[in-house]
Symmetry: C2
Subunit: 251 residues, 2 copies
């Protein structure tokens, strides 16, 4: 049985605890957080001195707390990983073996996720630790990918575009609907289809709309409509410019 | 039996023909297009003079051809609708009764759609025509919405944000993956979850990421990574600025 201690009590820590509960071969024997808040029935401590010995320590805290937490660990030579997309391996304290265990997903506290579908990106300074992390990650996810630090940083950046910025596009749609007394439900099938379409074709092929077809008359009408929202107007203008340049006019 | 003639041979015309084939009470008796290209087994003509008499004429052609097609129709007093999100009702020729039959979805030729799930936005100059269009639309869609021209224009604009611009965010993610020799498949679960999340919460609540939490250090790292792509860098900067302003810092 592989033993794991999880440090943190946020979304990632909680979802990892839940995922490992259903895994075979890996057990979370303790969690640590400053509020001493238990996750399920797993023993919890708020005292670094009481951390139990384990095969793996997963630091699932906010990016700017990772370095400090890794320094507080009262042992050396053990495998310590963080779960961040953007923090370098080297920010972990040098006394322990270093690794990364990065689930590429956006978690919400109240929403259960099927961890088996979530890509788990792993990295370790040491080859045998990489093999070990593969085993641990494979016990909860069907999609384990060894990636290096540069690749991980790019993935995190890509995630900002496809998740954070996409969600902001939904927000603008929502806002425009509200202003015009239209239910946001009208846009939901389109949102679903937009995400579903790229399961079959690349996003480059899936692109449609006035900017792609250089329909300047529609673009002008839309920019007019956006006059009361200079922020949205600027976004519309910039994204349309980029799309236009990507798809040169066909005649 | 309500009879319909569909003018056009593109995505919308084709998908409408397919949808009406499974409807009860409405039949497409003829299609018209200049190439004389049949859709399924429906009789086709390329000669305006041979257009059959019908209860409804649906002009499903590109936006800039709608006015001209409506002028060519060799009759008056009949109900003629177009399927565009952004063309005014008034652009239809005045000799006939005017309406709009706008399916709020992005269609691809090779992808079957379940029309029942697609919102159909209808509009007519005349009240009895509105009632009639409700019947026709209701025979293929479970989501029929009478909207006025202003609302329709806003919906079309919203669709550009949640569909066209969202798809462009996917394209950027795809491009960044390719450059870093990463499979785009890594991002798919996140893309699916991003779309699924707002079925339960509003996009405003669903927003996460460095900009929302005013994480300037991560934003700086990302802008550095984007240096080779001035276009993407500008988009990242603008969207982050807008998100930051929307969610004031909490302390």
């Amino acid at each position: 049985m592989i033993t794991v201690v999880i440090i943190g009590s946020g979304n990632v820590a909680t979802h990892l605890c839940t995922a490992f509960r259903n895994s075979t071969g890996v057990r979370v024997i303790q969690t640590f957080n400053r509020k001493n808040k238990a996750i399920g029935t797993i023993p919890v401590t708020d005292d670094y001195a009481l951390l139990r010995l384990a095969d793996l320590y997963i630091i699932a805290v906010s990016d700017d707390a990772i370095a400090e937490v890794s320094q507080q660990l009262p042992f050396t030579g053990r495998l310590v990983v963080h779960t961040s997309g953007s923090v370098a391996l080297e920010e972990l304290h040098s006394g322990n073996r270093k690794g990364v265990f990065y689930p590429l997903q956006s978690f919400s506290m109240n929403k259960t996720v099927n961890f088996a579908d979530i890509p788990l990106c792993i990295e370790a300074a040491d080859e045998s630790d990489t093999v070990f992390l593969k085993t641990v990650a494979g016990s909860i996810s069907d999609h384990v990918h060894p990636v290096d630090s540069d690749q991980r940083r790019s993935l995190h950046l890509s995630a900002v575009f496809v998740n954070n910025f996409t969600n902001y596009m939904y927000t603008i749609g929502h806002e425009l609907c509200k202003e015009n007394r239209l239910p946001f439900d009208l846009l939901r099938p389109l949102i679903r289809e937009t995400a579903a379409k790229i399961e079959d074709v690349s996003p480059e092929e899936a692109q449609t709309g006035p900017a792609r077809r250089h329909d300047e008359s529609t673009i002008r009408k839309h920019l007019d409509l956006l006059k009361p929202h200079p922020g949205y107007e600027e976004i519309y203008r910039l994204l349309s410019k980029n799309i236009r340049e990507m798809y040169p006019e066909q005649e």
